[in-house]
């Protein structure tokens, strides 16, 4: 460790600071007493690298900061550090995330509670650094928990939640927080930074128990097992993912008690849905322009609301069913694509439809592909999404059961 950390008194009172999503994450790394973080630059995730490096240079944070020679090593480093008992942080974006894919896949299989951010970015080629969720979503089937943040505040809050949930022995799975590139990673917003004491009350020490890789505890991790053990291993991961719903709910309740934030539901953020006939459904920062649209549409007398998904994995099926069956139509907005998928819809669209399939009373689900590569979602686009969702709600099947590209030039 090159940097000598002076005994800096931690902030004893909660402060409000103007921070980008990346800076808010760096504050969370400090507050959570992360032991090891591995870094390799790629935009927009690298905002965290810079913010964390600055905290270290200013003597505010002590973390083993390892700059790797590429994303694959970067994710391998934290995987191993986690196995020997370190609380870890890592992150990447777009194709950098993909370069780490082997390490990403095995981290979930090994049940190591690595906490990452994926600064969501369009996959190359072509070069485009704006947000698209396909990077995070590529790991959706592998055992990573995937929350998405809307604001800088939520970025920090989800990060603090993430260590607690990931390191809980009932879960012991990695988490990748989705942070929309530019809109969240690089935009400053006021953030309430809690005290270290409050964070300590919320976040227990990392304890791997008898899985700790240490000379005093001789274990072998991941021997070759072939078909003889593999299904049991997968079934364990499945059980852990199921358990994560309970653990997130508990952590969310504690978080609210200690920090006074977090909303009613750990999984869904409902906006003006009480009397809504149709709702928009999506995740990440697209909630911001959609909320503005809702306020304007409501001023014109339309009963419309928004349901924002906070955790894509584990998919909160029961909560989603309970929420969405109240409406006539749901317009699912995907900031991702899944070429050739059912109805040529986005990933979220098909997951939502699948969750609702067995319901006798279910809303029409309309899909929208919007805001790819970070294209801004402007108000006319929001209106178009609204019109089509309303039409579907009225039973117009020429728009229902379909996916529409929004804001794309013909």
């Amino acid at each position: 460790m090159a940097v000598e950390v002076k005994a800096t008194p931690t902030t004893e009172v909660e402060t409000e600071q103007l921070l980008t999503g990346c800076e808010a994450i760096a504050e969370a790394i400090r507050l959570a007493d992360v032991d090891v973080m591995a870094a390799y630059p790629i935009r927009p995730y690298d905002g965290v690298m810079q913010a964390a490096a600055k905290l270290i240079a200013n003597g505010k944070m002590d973390v083993e900061y390892i700059v790797a020679d590429g994303e694959h090593s970067q994710f391998e480093i934290v995987k191993h550090a986690s196995a020997v008992g370190s609380r870890v942080f890592v992150g990447s974006s777009g194709v950098g995330w993909f370069y780490a894919f082997e390490a990403i896949a095995v981290t979930a299989g090994l049940r190591l509670p690595v906490v990452a951010i994926c600064g969501n970015r369009a996959l190359d080629d072509p070069g485009a650094f704006g947000t698209e969720h396909n990077d995070s979503l590529a790991v959706r089937d592998l055992g990573w928990l995937l929350p998405w943040a809307e604001t800088a505040q939520e970025s920090m809050d989800l990060a603090l939640m993430a260590w607690r949930v990931a390191e809980d022995k009932r879960v012991s799975l990695p988490i990748a927080i989705g942070l929309d590139g530019a809109f969240l990673t690089h935009s400053q917003q006021p953030v309430k930074v809690p005290t270290k004491a409050a964070v300590d009350a919320f976040l227990p020490k990392y304890d791997l128990g008898d899985r700790l890789l240490h000379p005093d505890n001789p274990i072998t991790i991941a021997p070759q097992v072939d078909q003889d053990w593999l299904m049991e291993i997968r079934r364990q991961n499945d059980a852990a993912m199921r358990k994560a719903l309970t653990v997130i709910t508990e952590a969310h309740a504690d978080f609210k008690r200690i920090f006074g934030r977090g909303g009613d539901s750990p999984f869904l953020d409902e906006y003006m849905t009480d009397d809504a006939e149709v709702v928009f459904f999506g995740q990440g920062t697209l909630a911001l322009p959609m909320k503005v649209a809702i306020r304007r549409l409501r001023a014109q007398g339309h009963k419309v609301g928004l349901v924002r998904l906070k955790w894509f994995r584990p998919f909160p099926t029961q909560e989603i069913v309970k929420s969405l069956t109240r409406f006539k139509a749901v317009g699912v907005i995907d900031r991702d694509y899944s070429f050739g998928s059912p109805f040529y819809g986005g990933v979220l669209y098909n997951e939502v439809r699948s969750a609702l399939y067995s319901q006798t009373k279910r809303p029409t689900v309309v899909g929208f592909i919007a805001g790819l590569g970070g294209r801004e979602i402007e108000q006319p686009m929001a209106n178009e999404i609204f019109e089509k969702t309303m039409a579907a709600g009225r039973g117009d099947l020429s728009v229902g059961d379909q996916c529409h590209w929004i804001g794309v030039r013909d």
């Binding site: 072998t220 991790i221 053990w229």
Partner: protein
């Protein structure tokens, strides 16, 4: 009882279903051999219009030197019967087991959680266990696990063929074994078809003659329930369920100084090293170079082999600078795994007699220098 008559328990096989042949072999060294036998079975059966498939046990790959591995040939009456046997790693029941190294009859330990399995484990009642060996059926049976079902032991004359993986030095073991299979399952592999196939493939009448020889020279020894040895160690491993196994793909590792209690590896051995402690000059080479750290240092400063861990690779015998101090000996000459230094310490004459009997070389020191080097400190 040895007989060259037809088997007492004529096969229950009938051409209305199928026949499965497994070839148990030494990983890497005999892979090509096993493949040639299995392919030969399928191709010969094809000549009688029977469809078939040959495959290697997928879990054996990557193969490890000498570690028991398996390949299979399935021949069926029709496509439906054949397809019912496909998309498998390993048939649970076979009609014929072939072991192409007679030391394999001491048990098949391929992976820790397979345990150490008797050679006849998948062989069906009244099936056949064909072994290539220079020994008599009774000598082979004496080292085979006690039978739980009746079967017929068939000995094809010939030693273990380590014909090679990349460069296959054919010593006709493949043709002899095919001849033996034709003898135990004529309804599936008529001898004439096998010979026709080999003639076609090799254009070599000596190969065809080897098929005939394998067929004619194979001797049968009907084995009744209870015949065989109960002297081999039982190694069984309980595969955990998802609720009982440790999360994170974690298993206990060996503690320092401990040897793996689940996977012992000695089943990989075709020969074992025996040590002449009287001529040993305590140079440490065997101890240093053994790839499996099998040597323990004794209180006298000698090095003794832990036979439970030894894979029989022969490196110690190669690096030992003293002539005939470590000698590699046919594994079938042993029916126990006891470490030997204690015996030497207690009764040198008895130990040296044992050493000479097993190794066939003199236990006498070869030179004064070597003798001097061992004297005085024990």
């Amino acid at each position: 009882m040895t007989t060259t008559q037809a088997p007492v328990a004529p096969a229950q096989q009938n051409t209305s279903t199928d026949i499965t042949v497994e070839v148990v072999y030494r990983g890497i060294f005999q892979k090509t051999l096993a493949q040639r036998i299995c392919r030969g079975v399928v191709l010969a059966a094809r000549k009688s219009g029977h469809p078939g498939t040959a495959f290697a046990r997928y879990g054996d790959s990557p193969e490890r030197n000498g570690v028991p591995a398996k390949q299979f040939a399935v021949v069926a009456a029709d496509d439906t019967q054949l397809e019912a046997s496909m998309a498998r790693y390993e048939p649970s029941v076979v009609d014929v087991t072939v072991a192409v190294d007679d030391t394999l009859v001491k048990g098949v330990e391929s992976w820790a959680w397979y345990g150490r399995q008797p050679i006849w484990k998948p062989t069906k009642a009244d099936g056949f266990v064909i072994v290539t060996s220079d020994k008599s059926p009774d000598e082979v049976l004496a080292q085979t696990d006690k039978a739980e079902r009746p079967y017929t032991l068939a000995i094809v004359p010939g030693g273990a063929s380590f014909a090679g993986l990349w460069v296959y030095k054919d010593d006709h073991t493949d043709w002899r074994v095919l001849g033996a299979i034709a003898k135990v399952a004529p309804e599936w592999l008529p001898l004439q078809q096998v010979k026709a196939l080999v003639r076609e493939q090799t254009k070599d009448e000596t190969a065809v003659a080897s098929v005939q020889f394998g067929h004619d020279a194979t001797v049968f020894r009907p084995v009744a329930v209870g015949e065989g040895t109960s002297g081999h160690e039982v190694l069984q491993f309980e595969k955990p369920g998802w609720t009982t196994m440790r999360p994170g793909i974690v298993v206990d590792a060996r503690k320092p100084g401990e040897r793996n209690p689940f996977y012992k590896k000695y089943g990989a051995r075709t020969q074992r090293p025996v040590v002449n402690f009287d001529t040993c000059i305590k140079c440490t080479m065997c101890w240093l170079d053994c790839p499996d750290e099998c040597f323990e240092v004794t209180p006298t400063g000698h090095y003794e082999v832990v036979y439970e861990a030894c894979i029989g690779c022969g490196i110690c015998a190669q690096v030992c600078p003293v002539k005939d101090c470590i000698v590699m000996v046919d594994e079938l000459k042993f029916d126990e795994n006891q470490d030997k230094w204690q015996l030497w310490q207690k009764d040198r004459a008895a130990y040296n007699a044992w050493f000479e009997q097993k190794s066939g070389v003199s236990a006498e020191p070869k030179s004064k220098a070597a003798a001097a080097a061992t004297g005085g400190d024990d």
